[in-house]
């Protein structure tokens, strides 16, 4: 055993990269669910974003354009979901599952010519003075811009939901769509916007995977990250900062357990492998339970179909 081989600074830096895709997808889904819509198509939107971002980045040679394309693609796919569930009033769970299957198939189709191609390298932010600080430099200041974007997004969502009037309206729609409707708020329009935001975030998360974290295109490369993101929103009891905590915990322990294995820790590998799931669930459940409330803060109208009768 040689724990000195594990460099904590490198580990923390890798943790942030590893957690960013699920963080992006989860923060988007949080907004969707806060508006009272359950979109189980996160995985499908992620993988569609992954391939669209990859394709555009390769064609244009610009990873930044790729990320924008990924967000647009995710939003476009989510529009299908929004149309089916909000206009045609289809079942949200079934439609979301269908969206995942559709996204996986669509991405394989689009991705056929892109397998085995190298995407253009994404620039890493190397802030001259800050990145030279020992320990903190590599952890905080040498990432690609998307890591900071994801953090900023969490802060923005938190601020939006908590302190803005628009955020209050969005939450009202999610808590009681009939009341919100009676007050004159456009429930369907607000939900459309929320669903599109969720789609764009999921698309970005997918593109982060195919452009920066792995960087390559392989069919089915999200391999369940969308489902982790969905679970994270529930375990974080619909709070933005807890989503961040959950994502970093999950990403961090995933990376840590691989490092511990490589260092030869004498704990059975099975326990190490399940640790990211267990620890994330335990910590978030503990936080939720601490307040002594049985209620998990789920938006009251979550998953319910809204049909304006008057």
């Amino acid at each position: 055993m040689d724990y000195s081989a594990i460099d904590p600074a490198l580990l923390l830096a890798t943790l942030m990269i590893s957690a960013t895709p699920i963080l992006l997808a989860a923060i988007g889904e949080l907004v969707v669910e806060k508006a009272g819509v359950l979109n189980l198509g996160v995985e499908g939107m992620m993988i569609t974003g992954a391939i669209c971002g990859f394709a555009i980045a390769v064609e244009s040679g610009n990873p930044f354009l790729g990320l924008i394309a990924a967000a647009l693609a995710g939003a476009a796919l989510s529009l299908v979901f929004a149309f089916l569930t909000q206009i045609l009033l289809s079942n949200q769970v079934a439609t979301g599952l269908a969206l995942t299957l559709f996204g996986l198939g669509l991405s394989s189709l689009i991705g056929k010519p892109y397998a085995g191609i190298k995407p253009p390298a994404s620039p890493r932010l190397d802030i001259p003075l800050l990145s030279d600080i020992p320990v903190l430099g590599p952890i905080l200041f040498r990432h690609d811009p998307m890591v900071y974007v994801s953090l900023a997004l969490v802060a923005a969502v938190w601020f939006f939901l908590k302190y803005t009037r628009a955020g209050l309206i969005l939450r009202a729609v999610g808590e009681n769509h009939d009341a919100a409707h009676a007050l004159g708020y456009k429930v369907v329009r607000i939900r459309f916007l929320a669903i599109m935001f969720g789609g764009a975030c999921a698309g970005l998360g997918g593109a982060y995977l195919s452009l920066i974290r792995v960087p390559q295109w392989t069919e089915g490369m999200t391999a369940g990250a969308g489902w982790i993101a969905l679970a994270l929103v529930v375990f974080a009891s619909w709070r933005p900062w807890r989503v961040l905590l959950g994502a970093y915990l999950f990403g961090g322990i995933t990376v840590l357990q691989l490092n511990l294995q490589a260092a030869g820790l004498a704990i059975p590998v099975e326990y190490l492998s399940m640790s990211p799931y267990i620890v994330t669930i335990l910590v978030l459940v503990y936080i939720s339970a601490r307040k002594g409330r049985g209620n998990l803060d789920a938006p009251a109208s979550l998953g319910r179909t809204f049909h304006a009768t008057h």
């Binding site: 394989s108 085995g116 190298k118 995977l209 792995v214 391999a223 990250a225 990376v255 294995q261 590998v269």
Partner: protein
């Protein structure tokens, strides 16, 4: 009147059914069950190359179908049952974890032939087949031992099954033989296909100082990371040089095509029998990708010589003296491991650190 119409339509229906059966008899159906996507550029990709070879060989006489991304477990049973009900004459189940599902479905459909890759349970209508990947592992182990500068070699392992353990042992024995200072760092990722996790495992290994990565997972993610970080790696199941033009030293290539063509042909002419096939370099089921120019010519020659000796049968990668990890003797001087022990290998050889997950 009514009865007559009924009889007439019943006769018509029977006639159609009969014609359908006749049509189905002409065309043979072969089904393939894959654990990953056909575009993984690794394990499943190679199996699908085999399926395409069957199509090319027999043309209109055979109809091939495949289902990709089939999880090992209850889903596999469902997919195979559906294939059998759909009239498949032979079903290739291409992952170790399908073993029990194959046995169950095979019992229900005694007239359908099943081929299970890398498994060891057979029945009258279940054959098993695998490749002696360990022969390739022995060669890449030798190359790795010669090429490493940090003397640390990373190994991304999937599941603790005999096939994977055999590969680790074969690579380790031969790396150690040419470089006594070599050390293996093994990471179990518990998945065949998850590019993000495979990439994370590669990153973790590189951060701990390995400069060569071997993998027993299906995607080229680790190769991509090796390329990015400027270290060396070996392709797995397929030539992965397009993902790591500078990183890949060589790759072990699984070549299933000749076997698939032969077995489908055997079903056609009625000569199919349950058997256990385990082919290696000699039969061409295991191949090596061209060496990278980074591999010095003397190392290439050494690798080629070993490959040749294995083909001729003058060398076996598991030749004694070899001890098990705990120091108990396994093979005496000059003794060669038998296939039974290899097929069920559940122990590390002496020198490897860490425990095999149970």
């Amino acid at each position: 009147m009514k009865r007559r119409t009924f009889l007439a339509s019943a006769a018509l229906a029977l006639g159609i059914a009969g014609a359908g059966a006749a049509l189905a008899e002409e065309k043979m159906k072969a089904g393939f069950v894959y654990v990953g996507p056909v575009g993984d550029f690794g394990w499943t990709y190679q199996h699908d190359q085999g399926r395409q070879a069957v199509k090319a060989e027999y043309g209109d006489k055979v109809e091939t179908t495949f289902v990709e991304n089939v999880p090992e477990g209850a889903d596999a049973e469902r997919v195979m049952t559906q294939m059998a009900l759909g009239g498949a004459d032979i079903i290739f189940a291409t992952s170790f974890g399908y073993m029990d599902a194959v046995q169950k479905v095979a019992k229900k459909f005694p007239n359908v032939k099943f081929e299970h890759a890398t498994g060891y349970k057979r029945a009258d209508n279940v054959a098993t087949y695998s490749a002696r990947f360990y022969e390739g592992r022995a060669v890449i182990g030798t190359i790795a031992g010669r090429m490493t500068k940090t003397n640390k070699i990373g190994y991304i392992a999937s599941f603790p099954i005999p096939e994977v353990i055999r590969g680790i042992n074969a690579a380790y024995i031969h790396a150690k033989k040419v470089n006594p200072d070599v050390e293996f760092k093994i990471v179990w990722v518990y998945t065949w296909f998850d590019p993000a996790k495979e990439a994370d495992a590669a990153t973790a290994l590189i951060e701990q100082g390995v400069d060569i990565i071997m993998q027993h997972t299906d995607s080229p993610a680790a190769m991509t990371i090796a390329e990015e970080k400027g270290i060396m790696a070996f392709g797995q199941a397929s030539d992965m040089s397009q993902f790591g033009p500078n990183a890949q030293l060589t790759a072990i290539i699984d070549n299933w095509a000749p076997y698939y063509v032969e077995r489908v042909g055997a079903v056609m002419d009625g000569s199919w029998k349950s058997q256990d096939t385990w082919h290696g370099f000699k039969e061409g089921m295991v191949q090596l990708a061209p060496y990278s120019s980074k591999v010095p010519s003397e190392v290439q020659a050494e690798a080629d010589a070993m490959k040749q000796a294995i083909i001729e049968g003058s060398y076996h990668p598991f030749t004694g003296p070899l001890n098990k990890q705990d120091g108990t003797p396994w093979l005496k001087e000059g003794e060669v491991a038998d296939d039974g022990t290899l097929a069920g290998m559940n122990f590390y050889v002496e020198g490897i650190e860490g425990e095999i997950p149970q």
